[in-house]
Every structure is written in structure tokens, then in C-alpha cells.
């Protein structure tokens, strides 16, 4: 009997049920074995008959189902080249379920496994691949590198995971990678990179040309002039405008004209900064804005965009926040009800300014750094610049006197950022500048060893810890707020062997006169410091996990 016929009989019974036997007659049943069997079911009332026939019809339908045929063949994995790398040892695999909840250690562990030339079997990689569903690019890179052939085949079957495949990256990811590579290459050798880009320019697609221009923008060099000249002739209007404005970032006539014009847009009235429509620069062209409400492209945005943001503050003798407030207020008065929703060049300028604000010293500046320092930051800055920024931030942390819980949060963010930067621990080669004295220099020089001296870290750490204790006794109030958090950061990023590098609590200094306000402050500072150090207990599981990872790897060797 065909499936249609089976469905037909039950359907006919259900049609009666849809209306109810009070309004509908029992259906006439078609011929065939089932129809005849159903017709034989006759009970005193239509309701009883319908129920009994439904029992038979339902059962027949259920038992008469046939399996569906699927035309799409199931994916088949064909073993290719023999994997030369060894799989991750079982002792380490056993740690993975816990590692998922400790991203700081997870990032580091994946890096270490890659360095050790190991592979992660597909079953163990599945939970990690699931973590990349949220688009965690920072994780997917090292994870893909760890997958063996079977794991990569499996990951490519899932549309979400496939997006992270370095072999076939989607456009957005491909462009991000391109930009990251160019940022690094341009920072390292601007002449060679500019020459290569110049030759490749005609073959690049529109998105790639935009990416190239964005990548060189962060570290413009006189060698980029020919490239900018070429880009100005591009058929894409946004690209032309960007190239035009970038010319102002290099010394030359345009920059001089902008330098002269910009101050005319700012006026101080009764000590307050006010923005007014000032001089325009003919070389920057005519903005496309039809009126002042169009903020995608205006005279102001062209002026701001055509000047190095880092020099802007010096030129105007302003701090970042005052400048940002003035710009936003001006835009708001110009009819933009949501000044933070700016577009195009203005948005670019604001972002640049916010990133430049990292150079400040206030807590807000540090907050800006927290937002800026992510693995994605590598598309804006070369790694060396980013690492310098991190050191800069640690220095500021030591100088910030405010007690604020935000600091701890900030340091936590930096903690996450450090290990997620590829090989950041191994590549902290930038020497601290001479001007950075005191604790920062000691920290930086202590943890800037060449790889062959890495085993010396514990001794260096102990030396430093002793020094910190001596220092703390004298100047505890100075270090009270940032130091525990900073040490946690450094301990997480660098210390591979010592879970608790800090010794006994600092004691009240005898040098402080008794009964004075200074002594009370000193005592309060010590109490607060002790309290903060106790909060380090939350780091213990992380440190423990790192030691277990190290132990498992060492056993393998």
C-alpha cells in the first residue's frame, strides 16, 4: 500500500474530527485492505467508531512509515599526507575541559603546543571550535594551526568554524589579515613595502586598496608619497578623499596649510574653548556635504583628517578630552542630534584621537587603552608599538595615585590582552626608554631576557620582589593601588614557575613619625595593600593551571 493511501485514510478521519461528529458524518472509506479493515470497525456511536478507527489508522500509519532517502552523500574523510606532528599528550588533553574556563591560560597553552609542534585530536578540539562560534579570531588562529588533517576536515564541515579557516578565509577575515601583515611590514620597512604596494596597486580589488591605505596610514613615511599620488587618482571617491587627507600627515605644503588653518577653528572665550567655522584649505578640495548637517564629509572633518592626530594636541595646546568635547559640541550644534554617531572621516579622526589619548595620564586615558588594546588592535598598530603601549600603561599604573576599582579591571583587561598577542611574551624585545625610571625599568629589564636566559627568570623575579618590598616599606602609599594588580599582570604574562612571587606583607615604616597624619595614611595604605594582595587568591587557579600545563609538556619532553 502506498504512503499516500495510508495518509488518505487517516486524513479523512481527521477531517471529520476537525469539524466534530456533531457537525460532520463519518467519512466514506476508500477500498483497499486498510479501508476495508476500518470499515469493519462499527460501534454504537459515531464518536466511539471514530476513536476506534483512529486507533487502527494511527497505528497503521505509524507502522507503515518508510525511511527517507537522502540524495546528498554524507561527508567522507580521506586520509591524505601522513601527519608528522605528534598528538598532544594525554595528561595535557585531560586539562582541556578546565582550560576552556581559563581563557588566559588557554591562549598561552595553544601557543605553547604550537611551538612544541603538537596536534590536537578532533574530539578534544571540538569544544574549542565551539568557542570560536562567537567570532573569537584570537583563538581561531592558534587553534587552526593545532588541528590535524582530520580536525581541519571536520572544522570545514561547520559553516561557523569554516569562517576561521586560514586557507579559505572570508573577505572580512582575509582583509583583516592583509591589513595586519601590511601594518607590520610597513612599520618594519616602509620603503620596501611602499614600493611593493605601488607595483601591486593596479591589480588590487577595491576592498584591498582601502585596506592598503588604512594599513599605511598608521605609520606614514615620505616613501609613501608615490602611493598616495596614485590613490588620489582612484575611481573610488572615499579612497581618493582618504589619500588626499593622508598627504597632510606628511611634511609638505598641505600640512603647512592645515597647520595654519586649524587654530582659526578654535577660540577661547572667558577661558572656555569654543569652535567656530574657520579657514578652509583649498588643497583639501570641496567637501561633499551639502549642508552642515551632513557630517560624513565636512570642512572640519577634512582639516582634522589631514593632520597627524598625535601632533594635533600639541598644535592646539589642548588635552584630548577638551578637544573631543569641543568637537562633539560643535557637531551637536551643527544639527547632529547624536554626535557620537559620526561617519566617515570624522569617525576616523575621533577614533585616532581616542587612540592618541593613550598618551595621557588620567584614568580615562587608561580606560581608553583598555578599549584599544585587543588582538584586533594589531590592524591599527604594529606589534612593537602595541607592546610599547602596554609597557607605557604599566608605567602609568604606577604613577596613578587614584584609588579606583576601575584600575583592577583595567589591569585584568591588559592581562587578557598580553597573552593573546601572538608570541608577545617571547617578543618583548623593545627596551624600555631611559626616561622610564624606577619600578617600571626594573620590571622591564627583569623580564626582557633573551630566550636562552629564560631559566633565569625565577631568580630575577625574586630579586625584584625583594626590591619591591624594600621600596614598599618606604613608599607604600605610592604603590598601594596599582602594584598588586600590576604584579598579577606580570606574573601571569611572564612568570612560568612561581605562583606567589610576593613575600611577607610590608611593615609600618619606623621612619614615619608616630602619631602624625602621615603615619595614619601609611597604615591605611598598608592595610589596603594587604587586602588587595589577598584578592590575588582568585589568580591561584590560573597559575596552578599554567603550572600543570607546563608540567605536562615537560614530562612529554
Amino acid at each position: 500500500m502506498s504512503a499516500e493511501s495510508q495518509a488518505g485514510e487517516l486524513q479523512a478521519l481527521a477531517a471529520t474530527f476537525l469539524r466534530g461528529t456533531a457537525r460532520a458524518e463519518l467519512p466514506a472509506l476508500p477500498g483497499g485492505p486498510l479501508g476495508e479493515a476500518l470499515a469493519r470497525v462499527q460501534l454504537p456511536t459515531p464518536e466511539e467508531t471514530l476513536l476506534a478507527r483512529a486507533a487502527l489508522g494511527g497505528l497503521h500509519s505509524q507502522a507503515g512509515r518508510v525511511p527517507a532517502k537522502v540524495q546528498t552523500p554524507a561527508p567522507v574523510f580521506a586520509e591524505g599526507e601522513t601527519e608528522t606532528r605528534r598528538p598532544v599528550p594525554a595528561a595535557l588533553l585531560a586539562l582541556f575541559p578546565s582550560l576552556i574556563y581559563q581563557p588566559e591560560v588557554l591562549y598561552q597553552t595553544l601557543g605553547l603546543l604550537n611551538q612544541a609542534n603538537l596536534t590536537l585530536p578532533a574530539p578534544a578540539a571540538l569544544p574549542l571550535l565551539a568557542l570560536t562560534d562567537g567570532g573569537t579570531d584570537g583563538l581561531s588562529g592558534p587553534l587552526w594551526a593545532l588541528l590535524d588533517e582530520h580536525g581541519r576536515w571536520l572544522a570545514r564541515l561547520n559553516p561557523e568554524w569554516k569562517r576561521h579557516d586560514p586557507a579559505t578565509p572570508p573577505d572580512a577575515l582575509r582583509l583583516t589579515r592583509l591589513r595586519r601583515e601590511l601594518v607590520e611590514a610597513h612599520a618594519a620597512d616602509p620603503e620596501a613595502t611602499a614600493a611593493e604596494l605601488l607595483s601591486r596597486w593596479p591589480t588590487l580589488k577595491a576592498d584591498e586598496r582601502r585596506t592598503v591605505l588604512g594599513a599605511v596610514a598608521g605609520s606614514l613615511h615620505p616613501a609613501d608619497w608615490p602611493l598616495l599620488h596614485l590613490a588620489i587618482k582612484d575611481k573610488l571617491p572615499d579612497l581618493k578623499r582618504r589619500a588626499l587627507l593622508l598627504q597632510g600627515h606628511l611634511p609638505g605644503e598641505i600640512q603647512d596649510a592645515v597647520r595654519a588653518a586649524l587654530p582659526t577653528w578654535f577660540r577661547r572665550e572667558k577661558g572656555k574653548l569654543k569652535m567656530v567655522a574657520g579657514q578652509s584649505v583649498a588643497a583639501l578640495g570641496q567637501p561633499e556635504a551639502r549642508d552642515r548637517r551632513d557630517h560624513g564629509d565636512s570642512e572640519l572633518s577634512r582639516l582634522l583628517g589631514a593632520f597627524p592626530t598625535a601632533e594635533l594636541l600639541m598644535l592646539l595646546d589642548l588635552d584630548v578630552q577638551t578637544l573631543l568635547n569641543a568637537i562633539k559640541k560643535y557637531m551637536s550644534q551643527s544639527g547632529n542630534p547624536q554626535p557620537w554617531l559620526v561617519q566617515g572621516t570624522e569617525q576616523q579622526v575621533l577614533e585616532d584621537l581616542e587612540r592618541a589619548s593613550v598618551g595621557g595620564l588620567t584614568l580615562k586615558d587608561l580606560e581608553a587603552l583598555r578599549l584599544a588594546v585587543t588582538p584586533d588592535s594589531l590592524v591599527y598598530w604594529p606589534r612593537a608599538r602595541l607592546e610599547a603601549l602596554l609597557w607605557e600603561a604599566t608605567a602609568k599604573l604606577l604613577r596613578v595615585s587614584q584609588e579606583n576599582h576601575a584600575l583592577a579591571f583595567l589591569v585584568q583587561s591588559l592581562t587578557s590582552a598580553l597573552p593573546s598577542l601572538p608570541d608577545s611574551v617571547q617578543e618583548l624585545e623593545q627596551p624600555p626608554q631611559e626616561s622610564k625610571k624606577g619600578l617600571l625599568s626594573r620590571l622591564a629589564s627583569a623580564f626582557r631576557p633573551a630566550p636562552e636566559t629564560a631559566r633565569d627568570w625565577p631568580r630575577r623575579w625574586e630579586k625584584l620582589a625583594r626590591w619591591i618590598q624594600d621600596e614598599l616599606v618606604r613608599e607604600v602609599q605610592h604603590y598601594v593601588s596599582p602594584l598588586p594588580a600590576l604584579l598579577n599582570t606580570v606574573a601571569l604574562a611572564l612568570d612560568l614557575s612561581r605562583p606567589d612571587p610576593i613575600g611577607p606583607e610590608p611593615q609600618l615604616s619606623e621612619a614615619v613619625p608616630e602619631g602624625t597624619n602621615e603615619q595614619q595614611q601609611h597604615a591605611r595604605a598598608i592595610a589596603l595593600y594587604s587586602q588587595q594582595m589577598r584578592s590575588r587568591a582568585s589568580l591561584i587557579p590560573i597559575l596552578t593551571m599554567r603550572r600543570r600545563v607546563q608540567g605536562a609538556l615537560a614530562e612529554r619532553e
Partner: protein, 456 residues
């Protein structure tokens, strides 16, 4: 008094029931014909529940530990009715609560016999025979007449409940699907509660599932479901004409309790069985654990069911998955024997961590075997099979055999299965409910098939 309650829900329910209005009959009595409830040695009363007939509740106050007996189907002891009767009594004594109007009528026969048997056991325990009542009271020979009488009473209750159910379903059929869709949810709950009172929990479960089918467009699913319930009612009405295995099948579908002792008395020599996995589900206030075993000798599947009040945890520990041991498995003698009882569970050292390879069925065979099982057990909800060799399609998750047939997979991560397969085909052991397959155990199915072997 509430300290006697097995849980906080019982205590709360008992408080709500300790109102005289809910008790048409309240009596207290003693052997010395005491007139005051405060001197009572036993209490009895009738409490109006959700069924037509009130529950008969008795409390024996003669021993330090109060004993309760109630005609309600609750598995908790003491039940809320027993607790409520005690609360009413205590409240009356202390003048703190609602006392109600207490009579001194003699307890009905059922309660009298219960009180007498308790008295006899107490006397025997206090006598020279010893302090252990188990030793003191010689095993009383089962009274066949009393047993038959109890059985008849229970059957009458079930019969009455199923008759009501059938009438209620006829009303639904008469009104049609749109009218049924407009009924409030409490309609289904109330009917299910009546079936619980009628000691037909299996039918109650099916009634609670009705809302799942209410909103399917063409009504076929709901009509089939009602047909299944009608079959229960018809089966019960004609139970005398059924064979023993058919009757077991019916009782099993109605959720009748098993006489474990009698069933296990007949179990034979222990054989090697493998625990293939288990599934846990919560339905209403009951947690159910289904553990599937497979006999090493021939691949026969057996289902062990465990129940626990929701969230309380199972009193019986789970069997170790993917381990094999010699087990005394005794099937419930239905026409399609699947459910089984275990005559003891071996100690852990006696389990071996092995899952023997056994032949697996193609997907067409899976459908055919399920159809054969349905012919024997029309209320069958799921059975366990080994299918293979199959490959896994990830989106949507399906298992495809060498003939191109596929079944949808449920509760399974297809990528985990693909990872496990390492490129080869798999044998999957799992539950099949006629629509989806839930894998419980995964085994590599020998050498890999290539594409040309998949005959679409």
C-alpha cells in the same frame, strides 16, 4: 506533627487539607470506647480528593510512631491526607486549629483489618518471641481471598476511570478539534489527575501529552493519540479475552505496578549483558531514567526503568555505562518483552569495560523491526536498536546507511560523531521513537566504506 512529612510539599499540602470542610467524615475511636477525640487510639476519615469517591484515611495512634493508611495513589508516606488528619486532630486537641466535628463511628472493614493486623504484630513483638517484629511475627500466609478482593477493588477503580476517560474523549470527538483547542490547560490536567486517582498512571501520562498535539494543523496526530487512548479503554474492557502476554502488555501500558518479587522469582541463570547507556527525562513531577542493556549472546535489548520524585535523585545508583557483567535479567512477560527487572546488581569489580561488537541493522530494517514491534505493542513509544554501518550528515543531523536511507538524529552532536568516526562508518546503538534516533553508544564499524558503496 509536620516533622513526619516526607517533604516540604507534603507538609504544605497537608496544611491546606487540614480544614474540616474537606473532610465529610471525621472519626476518632479507641478500644475503651472513649468519647473524646483526645483519648483516641485511632483516627479515620474521608477526604474529598479530585476523584468522585473520597479517600479513606486511617491513622493508628497506639504506637509511638504513628502509622497511616490511605486509599490515595500517592507513593509518599505518610501521604498528605494522613498528615492532614493528624493535624486536624492535634489542632482540635490544642484548641489552636480547626477542630471539625468528630464522630466515633467504627472504622470501615478495610481500616479495621489494618488496625487489627498492626495490633497483632505489636503484641507478637512485645511477647517472649523477641523484640524484632520481623522474627516475632511469622510470615503470614497470603490470604488469596483478601488478595482477590483487593485486586477486584483496584480493577473496579481502573475500569471506572477508563470508562470516564472514554466518555470524555467522545465529548472531544463530538465537539471537534477547534473546540478542543479552546479548552483551558487545566482541563487536561484535571482529567490526568482523575486517572491517577483511578490508579491508571499510564493513561494519565498519555492525557498529559494531548496538548503537544493540539495545534498540529490537520489534527491527524491528535486523533491518532486519542485512538491510542481509546485502545487502552477498549483493551481494558475486553481484558478477559486477552492472552496473558497481551494482558501484561495492557497493564504495562496502564502503568500498573509490577510484582517484582513474583517476577524475579522466575529469573534464570545470569548471562552477560552490556550497559549501552541511559537517558534521563523529567515528566511533570517525576524523573524517569531509562537504562538500556544488550545481551552479549544475541543482541537482545532490555530496558530498566527507574523513577524518582523530580529533583530528589534516584535511590538506585545508575549502572556503569559501556560495561559488561553477568546479570540476572527478568523480562516483564509482555507480548513484546522489552522492560525488565534486575535480580541484583554485581559489585563494581565484576564489571568489564567492554562493548562486544554485534551486528547492526540497516535503516530499512530499523523501520521494519519497529513496525513488527508496534504490531505486538500498539502503545510502544520507543525501542532500542543498533544501526549501521552509517555515516553522519551534520546539517541537519542525520545518520545515512549504505543504501542512502537516513534517519534524523536527536540529542546528538553530529560533529562529535564525525570526530569519533575518524572518517569511517559507525554503528550506533540508540533509542528509536519512530521519528528520530537518539544515539547512546557509538562504535566504529570496521573498514571505511567509500563513496561508490553508498547506493543512493
Amino acid at each position: 506533627m509536620l516533622a513526619l512529612a516526607p517533604d516540604s510539599a507534603s507538609a504544605q499540602a497537608a496544611r491546606q487539607l487540614s480544614s474540616p470542610g474537606k473532610w465529610p467524615t471525621l472519626n476518632a475511636g479507641s478500644q475503651s470506647d472513649a468519647q473524646l477525640p483526645s483519648d483516641a487510639q485511632w483516627l479515620w476519615g474521608e477526604c474529598q480528593g479530585s476523584g468522585r469517591k473520597p479517600y479513606l484515611v486511617g491513622v493508628d495512634l497506639r504506637t509511638p510512631e504513628y502509622a497511616c493508611k490511605c486509599s490515595c495513589p500517592s507513593r509518599k508516606f505518610p501521604c498528605k491526607h494522613g498528615l492532614a488528619l493528624l493535624l486536624l486532630h492535634v489542632g482540635g486537641q490544642q484548641g489552636a486549629g480547626q477542630q471539625g466535628s468528630w464522630g466515633a463511628a467504627a472504622p470501615p472493614e478495610v481500616l479495621s483489618k489494618w488496625l487489627e493486623s498492626r495490633r497483632a504484630r505489636q503484641d507478637a513483638a512485645a511477647g517472649p518471641g523477641g523484640a524484632d517484629p520481623e522474627l516475632a511475627a511469622p510470615a503470614k500466609a497470603a490470604d488469596p481471598a483478601a488478595k482477590a478482593k483487593r485486586e477486584a477493588a483496584r480493577h473496579a477503580k481502573i475500569g471506572s476511570g477508563l470508562e470516564d476517560l472514554h466518555l470524555w474523549m467522545q465529548d472531544l470527538i463530538r465537539g471537534g478539534l477547534p473546540a478542543a483547542r479552546k479548552l483551558p490547560y487545566r482541563t487536561w490536567d484535571a482529567q490526568a489527575a482523575r486517572l491517577i486517582d483511578a490508579q491508571a498512571p499510564g493513561a494519565a501520562r498519555l492525557v498529559r501529552q494531548i496538548p503537544d498535539h493540539l495545534h498540529a494543523e490537520n489534527g491527524e496526530a491528535l486523533l491518532s493519540h486519542l485512538g491510542k487512548l481509546a485502545l487502552l479503554c477498549g483493551g481494558w474492557a475486553n481484558r478477559d479475552a486477552l492472552s496473558d502476554p497481551e494482558r501484561w502488555q495492557l497493564l504495562s501500558a496502564l502503568g500498573q505496578p509490577l510484582d517484582s518479587a513474583a517476577l524475579l522469582a522466575g529469573h534464570g541463570t545470569p548471562e552477560a549483558w552490556t550497559v549501552m547507556g541511559s537517558v534521563q527525562e523529567t515528566e511533570g513531577k517525576l524523573d524517569t531514567r531509562r537504562t538500556w542493556l544488550r545481551r552479549v549472546r544475541d543482541g537482545q535489548a532490555a530496558l530498566i526503568l527507574d523513577f524518582a520524585p523530580s529533583g530528589r535523585g534516584f535511590t538506585v545508583p545508575s549502572l556503569p555505562s559501556l560495561q559488561t557483567a553477568a546479570l540476572g535479567v527478568c523480562f516483564v512477560p509482555t507480548l513484546h518483552p522489552v522492560r525488565a527487572l534486575l535480580a541484583g546488581v554485581p559489585e563494581l569489580p565484576d564489571w568489564r569495560p567492554e562493548v562486544p561488537d554485534l551486528p547492526a541493522a540497516s535503516i530499512a530494517e530499523l523501520y521494519a523491526a519497529h513496525a513488527r514491534a508496534l504490531a505486538l505493542d500498539p502503545w510502544l513509544e520507543r525501542s532500542a536498536f543498533s544501526i549501521g554501518p552509517v555515516r553522519v550528515l551534520p546539517d541537519p543531523a542525520q545518520a545515512q546507511d549504505a543504501f542512502g536511507h537516513a534517519v534524523p538524529l536527536s540529542r546528538a552532536d553530529p560533529y562529535a560523531l564525525l570526530a569519533e568516526a575518524r572518517g569511517g562508518p559507525l554503528n550506533l546503538f540508540g533509542e528509536w521513537n519512530g521519528a528520530t534516533f537518539t544515539p547512546l553508544t557509538v562504535q566504529q564499524a570496521g573498514p571505511a566504506l567509500n563513496d561508490t558503496e553508498v547506493r543512493a
